[in-house]
Symmetry: C2
Subunit: 188 residues, 2 copies
DNA sequence: CAAAAACTATACCGAACGGTATACTTTTGG
DNA sequence: CCAAAAGTATACCGTTCGGTATAGTTTTTG
């Protein structure tokens, strides 16, 4: 068993359930079945552990969003593809999504928020570019790509947040409804 | 100067900027110009301090949302009134709103999330009841009050979150646009 | 005016914090 | 086969954590 991967896995579980600040290095080491110097050998510091964790997942996530946010001339299809990518990633990595969501809304001076900021910005930009591309076909959207990107991601995150707290299920039915509601709102 | 109120004020600033877990009791005491036993005299524990802080603000906030979420037969007006109440409270209490937002998305086993849960549920319920009342006049909405409440609050929180990070301004223009977009999405 | 209640500070508790110096074992490469 | 590099553990560092015992000072109240 790979120690490094195992530490990352245990850290993700703990961070996502209790929060980065509330989890001690000692605790991560114990859950991983190793000792602190081993953890420090691989990650250098507690913050280094968090960075490694974020990078290992976010690279994959951002790549998927990048692919899904390509605009091919049909906005409804693009929105649905994008929403599906978000829902699918969240369902495949619920613990990570929970942690990422908490870090995104974490206080600005916290360690977590600082590290997360740049990673989530890249993703946000992909979506904004999709709306910018679509606005060529939908004149009345012009100049509002940023707001659309933010609110669309916001709605998706709202749904995923509810799903993580078992307040709803991420069915295909919900996805289509949410996308349709958003899309009709734009056309107004 | 009232010590109790002063401690609450300083705690709010620190919690909202650095996060509940990352702030020590000692730190709050120093900023407040008092010592730890004084703080413990008033609040009993660190968690007691957080509870007192939440209750002192949330009572006011929930009352305002309760008032603003009354449905008087006109959904567009209700939505706008409600959105205005959210924006106004956030603008009047930016530090508190930042903290409350962070706590809402905090990991489920963290102290903050447990304390926040019940408070935010009351508010959520007000909004859901508004949509339920409105669905009598809008048949096609029936059965989706919960989803509408969640996504509407989600959009508002998205906007407020962006405003807190200086990514946009909460102008009346934005408010009307967001409300209109949401409302047209419903009618679809 | 005295006694009880409320308030505040000094000094301290054990535990946990993030992090490391040192040494020992295992693996790797010439 | 040996040496260098990588990996791991024991034991410890100083600091800060949340919380408190005790005692002194105000303020309120009978």
């Amino acid at each position: 068993m790979d120690n490094r991967a195992n530490i990352l896995h245990c850290a993700l579980q703990l961070f996502s359930e209790k929060g980065y600040d509330a989890v001690g290095v000692q605790e991560v080491a114990e859950w991983s079945g190793i000792t602190k110097p081993t953890l420090y050998h691989y990650f250098g510091s507690k913050l280094g552990l968090l960075k490694a964790l974020l990078e290992s997942y976010q690279a994959d996530f951002n790549a998927k969003i990048q692919t899904a946010s390509q605009y091919h001339g049909d906005l409804p299809i693009s929105l649905e593809t994008l929403a599906r990518a978000y829902f699918q990633f969240a369902q495949e990595n619920p613990a990570y999504y929970r942690m990422q969501l908490a870090l995104y809304f974490a206080p600005p001076d916290s360690d977590g928020a600082v590290v997360t900021a740049s990673l989530s910005r890249a993703q946000y930009q992909c979506v904004e570019e999709m709306f910018a591309a679509a606005s060529k076909d939908h004149g009345n959207m012009r100049g509002r790509q940023a707001l659309y990107a933010a609110t669309f991601i916001g709605v998706l995150n709202t749904c995923i947040g509810l799903w993580l707290n078992h307040a709803l299920t991420l069915e295909d039915d919900l996805l289509r409804r949410v996308v349709r509601q958003f899309q009709y709102g734009i056309y107004s």
